[in-house]
């Protein structure tokens, strides 16, 4: 009798975003960047990037105009707290209620 092939099921996971789903839905406050105050945006060159450095969730892009991935940003506010020029304001998520969401 031929031996059956074994499945050997184990809980081995592979990496991808959104294990906890769309963590942007956790937000009560949304970070809004004022690019007139934001140093790299203002200077037009790489500079500062404290928001990118301290973000626990790697949702800030290290670009001349740093951008925040709202799909996953949890709204913790560390970027706003640490920004040396106070360019980021934590704004109630409810004020964006009219926005189109996916």
């Amino acid at each position: 009798m031929a031996e059956k092939k074994l499945d050997v099921l184990t809980s081995d996971s592979y990496a991808g975003p959104g294990d906890a789903g769309r963590t942007g839905a956790w937000r009560v406050l949304r970070p809004v960047i004022d690019y007139e105050k934001c140093t790299p945006a203002r200077k037009g060159k790489a500079a500062c990037y404290f928001c990118w450095l301290y973000c626990p969730d790697s949702v800030v892009s290290k670009t001349i105009k740093p951008e925040i991935d709202l799909e996953y940003c949890k709204g913790c506010g560390i970027c706003a707290e640490e920004c040396p020029t106070k360019a980021i304001t934590m704004t109630p998520e409810s004020s964006f209620a009219d926005e189109d969401t996916d």
């Binding site: 959104g18 294990d19 450095l53």
Partner: protein, 301 residues
């Protein structure tokens, strides 16, 4: 050759952990884990015992970390890491890095035996203990590193009555290859210490102070600020120990020549977990910190 100091500008923008994971908003560990992995790189195997990081890894079948991770039982991070290293040696692989990431509970309490044995055997891996000062993953119960007076889920009325373990010094007494202390408020310091450690053979131990908004009772946005205050008040000290010599890292070394450090009350006040700390306890803590810095000044200046 002295390596270039890492800054926000020159630090790689390559990410090694995906967003949308289960870490709390504002998690101090999440912040340092992300930076730490940039220093470790992809040629690595991580070992993770039960802790907040286990939850951050994700629920099967999706993982947040882009590296290979071995999830293990609570007491065994250091011994599992020893096994990983032994296998790599047996396969003549001397380049893949082995890094254990464990919490304060998994290091100071249930995991201390395995770690102690691993150092004594001269095992070759990096052990990072992230210290949020309680068993946060299971709901904020007191651990060996919980500071005296802290309100936790099982010291809810009177606060923890006992002192905390000075874990890095306990580890240093084993004479491992390297001991360092880092903080979520100084991520590039952490990055560079990892780089330095990974260039050495033997057991390297890095203790990181990772403020926890959930367990400490602070606003999410204050994680880094509180971490900085912990250092500026002299309560938490950043240093390295090599060949028995302790060297303060620059955010703490600066304090040697400061006339007066920020008062500890400034650090304690925003934290709900210290709400029931009586005046005398705060004063006692201040005196303890002042005495510690007197000793540092007399030894290091």
């Amino acid at each position: 050759m002295k390596e270039q100091k890492t800054t926000a500008l020159n630090l790689t923008d390559e990410e090694f952990v995906f967003p949308g994971n289960r870490a709390c908003a504002g998690c101090g560990l999440s912040s340092l884990y992300r930076i730490g992995l940039k220093a470790i790189g992809r040629d690595a195997i991580l070992v993770v015992p039960p802790s907040c990081l286990t939850v951050m890894q994700g629920l099967y079948p999706i993982a947040s970390t882009q590296l290979s991770v071995l999830n293990v039982t609570f007491a065994s991070a250091a011994s599992a890491a020893s096994g990983v290293r032994a296998a790599l040696k047996a396969k003549k692989n001397d380049h893949t890095r082995v890094v254990a990431w464990a919490g304060d509970g998994g290091t100071a309490d249930i995991g201390i035996q395995a770690l102690s044995g691993a150092i004594e055997r001269g095992e070759d891996f990096l052990y990072i203990c992230y210290d949020n000062e309680a068993y946060m993953n299971t709901g904020v119960q007191r651990s060996g590193t919980t500071p005296r007076g802290t309100v936790t889920a099982n010291t809810a009325i009177h606060g923890k009555q006992q002192q905390s373990k000075d874990l890095p010094r306990i580890i240093a007494a084993h004479s491992p290859a390297y001991v360092a202390s880092c903080s979520a408020a100084y991520p590039t310091d952490f990055h560079d210490k990892i780089r330095k450690a990974l260039g050495m053979k033997g057991l390297k131990y890095i203790h990181i102070h990772t403020p926890c908004p959930t367990g400490w009772g602070i606003e999410d946005r204050l994680t880094v600020r509180l971490g900085r205050l912990a250092v500026e008040t002299g309560l938490y000290v950043l240093y390295e120990i090599e060949d028995g010599e302790m060297k303060l890292s620059s955010p703490s070394a600066k304090l040697l020549t400061k006339k007066k450090l920020s008062p500890v009350s400034e650090y304690l006040a925003p934290q709900a977990r210290f709400k029931s700390l009586p005046e005398e306890a705060v004063e006692a803590l201040q005196q303890e910190v002042d005495a510690k810095w007197e000793t540092y000044r007399s030894q290091m200046t």
